[in-house]
Symmetry: C2
Subunit: 294 residues, 2 copies
């Protein structure tokens, strides 16, 4: 372990920076900064990729030698209105196409909250399952896997009715592991004492067509938990090492479950966005080595 991770290719071999961590950087600035620091992976978001052009973005990251570790995000599959629901399914197929173009096998799903006026969490979760049945085969045909992301229970009403890894697995396990996996994010799951058992269960899954590396674990994301939470609770994710999460212990759990894929750092934090993006990226890589790696 060194104080500065930059340039230490072995230490950063699994490191990936989610685009939202340094959203102040344009895509070319991001790929440049990654190349300079030896960062091998990026997680991308649909909106900035669409603005840049999906094919152009794919070329940019490929030319930079970067691996796209995930695309965020599909989902929002809880609508009851038929027209809204059809629109959501169409949009998710488009997201699958974009993931395939970008060369990533993982489309992260934020499943959606309760429709206005509804109090039926169970019904909303069943509508997600119905949508997965329709989208799973389409994704698989395009070499993409859907990754259900359980979001912290504080988002259950308005953003994602899938709040625990247990709930995510109960949905995913109805489908082949080649079609539907889960996104494991420390920020959302750190408080749950069932995580060791659930991560092991996720990792142990085999596919319908044979073994799948990492089982159901499609991507591992890390962020720290800091307080007080800001209003709206969206933009308060902590830089690695600043908060309450045992990041190294969590990473060891995920590794022990058989996951050997990328470790993607996804921070939504206004203070980090106000700083120089390349500097934040360097800091994040250094924090990763210090707080997540052995």
């Amino acid at each position: 372990m060194t104080d500065h991770a930059t340039g230490h290719a072995a230490e950063l071999a699994r490191f990936s920076v989610n685009q939202m961590t340094v959203k102040q950087l344009s895509l070319p600035e991001l790929t440049d900064a990654c190349a300079r620091l030896g960062v091998p992976g990026v997680g991308l978001w649909r909106e900035p990729v669409q603005s840049y052009g999906v094919a152009e973005a794919a070329r940019l990251v490929r030319d930079a030698g970067l691996r796209v570790t995930s695309l965020c995000r599909g989902g929002f599959l809880t609508a009851t209105d038929p027209a809204e629901r059809r629109k959501a399914l169409d949009d998710n197929r488009a997201a699958v196409d974009e993931a395939a173009t970008l060369g990533t096998g993982t489309l992260v799903l934020v499943s959606g909250g309760l429709p206005a006026g509804s109090r039926d969490l169970r019904g909303a979760r069943e509508r997600i399952a119905d949508a997965l049945a329709e989208l799973g085969p389409y994704a698989r045909e395009h070499g993409v896997r859907l990754a259900i992301e359980p979001l912290h229970p504080m988002y259950a009403a308005d953003r994602c009715v899938v709040s625990t890894l247990g709930q995510a697995l109960e949905l995913a396990e109805r489908f082949p592991a080649e079609q539907v996996g889960v996104a494991v994010d420390t920020y959302h799951l750190w408080w749950d004492d069932r995580v060791p058992e659930l991560v092991a269960r996720a990792g142990a899954a085999t596919g319908a067509e044979g073994p799948v590396p990492g089982g159901r674990i499609a991507v591992f994301q890390v962020a720290d938990w800091i307080t007080p939470l800001p209003a709206g609770v969206l933009l308060g994710r902590g830089q690695l090492g600043d908060g309450a999460v045992d990041l190294r212990g969590f990473r060891a759990l995920v590794d022990a479950a058989g996951y050997a894929g990328p470790v993607e750092v996804e921070l939504f934090n206004e203070a980090l966005w106000a700083r120089d993006g390349a500097e934040v990226l360097a800091e994040t890589a250094e924090r990763y080595v210090r707080h997540v790696l052995d």
Copy 2:
């Protein structure tokens, strides 16, 4: 069911107002308003009771014919520093004494967050168990039961490392049901699909000395979940009916588990505190009849 609950004694038979819901009212104003509206129960907090005088407060509520359904709050049992820990245990014994003086059998515990710099959730939960072993018999001798309250996972770092009913039960079940129960609050638990199974398990518990009414369920509290959450996420609890929680369904679950005790409305909401307290109490009683009762 009527539009206005006031004066309908049968409808309000189980209704209790937690003092924090109308904290703008002094204790005499609160007991007066309860008497006028036919509210039979109150949940009290230590600080306002201490300011008024514990014995005087006990006399006031007794003379008003009110039942004290719980006292909030003991807890904060996660400190590692020996002096701090001893102080917390002493304070909890004082809280038991106050509960006994007020004539309530239920002391609600907010267990405490992680000590500064710690990331050891499991260790913190074990220190709570150690403290319960010391405090449980003391409480029982004084006719008081400790009620572990699982708080929403968004409070896990800084307020309460017990985040689910499952975690609360795993702690409580190490002790006789006469000594340690749980507080079930819709605001904290509504998102969890394991609640039906866990509430049933809590209700089915028997004591070391025989059956205990409601099993481990010492008190049932209700509040609605509204978004967006305010900064700090403490003061955003919704008036009954304004949010995402299926309050009636939750109450039916708790009843089906064998709980027949008070339903205490506990709202921390700055908008409600800015209004006339007696008016808020009347509205809350009416909302209770409309959204919680059959």
